[in-house]
């Protein structure tokens, strides 16, 4: 498995969101230039897994135009890894992620 998410981007629209699985996993939201602006996860508290979490965040972040996701039961460590990899590549977290003081450091190469 690649450290960085390399799934294809999909445009955010009602039909695409409806097709999302109800499973647990991680996702990224991007703006019109395909810049990652939010990394999120559908954890075990989510009502309908990725379907509800991607939709909820896509609605809250107006700049988000596309998304991609991974279904994984290791959603917690994968979420941390994506954030760490993003910080290593861009010297900071995505624009809409809250600061995480305890986040580790990764140099994925």
């Amino acid at each position: 498995m690649s450290v960085r998410c390399n799934k294809p981007w999909q445009a955010i629209d009602a039909a695409a969101l409806e097709r999302l699985p109800g499973q647990l996993g991680v996702f990224e939201l991007a703006d019109a230039t395909e810049r990652v602006i939010f990394i999120g996860r559908a954890d075990a508290r989510s009502l309908f897994g990725l379907r509800s979490e991607v939709a909820r965040h896509a609605k809250a972040i107006a700049a988000a135009t596309s998304f991609r996701f991974e279904v994984t039961t290791a959603y917690h460590t994968r979420y941390l890894e994506l954030l760490m990899a993003h910080r290593a590549d861009h010297a900071g977290l995505p624009q809409y992620n809250e600061p995480m003081p305890t986040l580790g450091r990764l140099s994925p190469g």
Binding site: V3, D43, A44, A74, P101, G104
Partner: protein
């Protein structure tokens, strides 16, 4: 031989049990089932409480500010602090503090000042870097990370895997081969700052556990001064080996704690849950599962306390620690499995902690030396040199 807890031990166990059930378990109702840390405000509040209880930094020697509590009592506490959902790998989410890398108590004065003291003050975190892709159970032979002398420095190249906490650490203990001809006598322990050029945390190794996740490290021409050798040149194996034996006692204790709370939940559930007009507890099939749980727990508990007692008295405890680790990890795995069976469908949902215990408990039969290695250690003790 006294098998009864002292009045002080009784008091401490009751106090810690109450703390876990009244402070930790309620917080978990609002955390993700795979959470590995508390919100900062809760953490600070609970650390203050533990300090007020006089139990902070249990494994820190008294001369460095730790409470003077013997190993048997610390083992009893470890059995209590794991009795919640994240308890196996994040007992009480770390609010009891810890000694960190205990090997640093054997460091020289300069190293103690640079690493041990900041670690005990909570300013620096460390990791333990032993296992490599070539193997973890036989570190003396499996270590392929090489350190080559260059003047007053050493140049380290190689990789490590399944290393916990390296991504958040300020430094780590890295075991590297400094003499290719000498086997276990050719391994040296280096204290490595994670800011050193050539030090890389390449990825998280996703496993069944959420807390204390593992990482993969790579070292590329990493330059470390001779002053950062811990102990003696080519003396690293003894440092690693001592740690592995000692670690088996709290490792076993954590499993026992989870088994106790899982069993307790299953006993209660079996009294409430009715099938075909009678509670589960009236069925012999369920009763026998509960009986087997009880036996597995008692077995593991006494073996582990006996190992702690021997270690506390300064006697050789390698065999006893191996037996405790073996019996506790295998027994607790069976207990959690039976409890899931009693809970039925609910047992495998994330609404209850069994699924996390089940996943994380599976690792315990491999981590800190797998069951087969424990049996090997015990056999070597029984058969002595004739085994070789």
């Amino acid at each position: 031989m006294n098998l009864t807890l002292t009045a002080e031990q009784d008091l401490i166990v009751a106090m810690v049990r109450r703390f876990v059930r009244e402070e930790i378990v309620p917080l978990e109702l609002n955390l993700d089932p795979d959470a590995d840390e508390l919100p900062p405000a809760d953490r600070e509040r609970l650390v203050a409480k533990v300090k007020a209880m006089g139990l902070y930094g249990l494994d820190i020697p008294p001369e460095y500010g730790g409470p003077e509590i013997d190993l048997v009592t610390r083992t009893l506490i470890a059995i209590e602090t794991s009795q919640h959902r994240a308890g196996l790998y994040a007992p009480c989410y770390g609010v009891f503090g810890g000694a960190g890398l205990a090997q640093l108590f054997e460091a020289n004065d300069d190293q103690k000042k640079r690493y041990l003291e900041p670690m005990l003050r909570g300013e620096k975190r460390g990791f333990f870097g032993l296992t490599e892709p070539s193997g973890g159970s036989d570190p003396a032979r499996a270590i392929r990370t090489r350190a080559v002398r260059d003047g007053d420095d050493w140049i380290i190249n190689g990789s490590k895997i399944f290393i916990s906490g390296a991504d958040r650490a300020h430094f780590g203990l890295v075991f590297a081969r400094t003499d290719a001809e000498k086997g276990r006598g050719g391994v040296t322990c280096f204290i490595v700052d994670t800011s050193t050029p050539g030090f890389h945390v390449r990825r998280i190794v996703h496993t069944l556990r959420a807390a204390r996740y593992a990482t993969e490290l790579q070292f590329e021409d990493m330059r470390v001064p001779s002053a950062n050798i811990l102990g003696k040149l080519n003396g690293g194996f003894a440092i690693a080996n001592d740690r592995l034996s000692r670690q088996r006692i709290p490792y076993a204790a954590g499993c026992i704690g989870v088994a106790i709370i899982a069993h307790e939940m299953a006993v209660e559930y079996s009294k409430q849950r009715e099938t075909f007009g009678a509670p589960l507890s009236s069925r012999q099939a369920i009763q026998w599962m509960l009986v087997d749980n009880e036996i597995d727990i008692e077995n593991a508990r006494w073996l582990t306390l006996a190992a702690a007692d021997r270690a506390e008295r300064g006697e050789d405890f390698r065999k006893q620690a191996g037996m405790a680790k073996l019996v506790a990890t295998e027994g607790a795995s069976r207990v959690v499995d039976r409890c899931m069976q009693i809970y039925g469908g609910y047992g495998v949902t994330k609404d209850f902690p069994f699924e996390r215990w089940y996943r994380e408990m599976r690792i315990r039969r491999i981590g800190e030396g797998p069951s087969e290695v424990q049996r090997h250690i015990i056999a070597r003790d029984i058969l002595g040199e004739s085994l070789r």
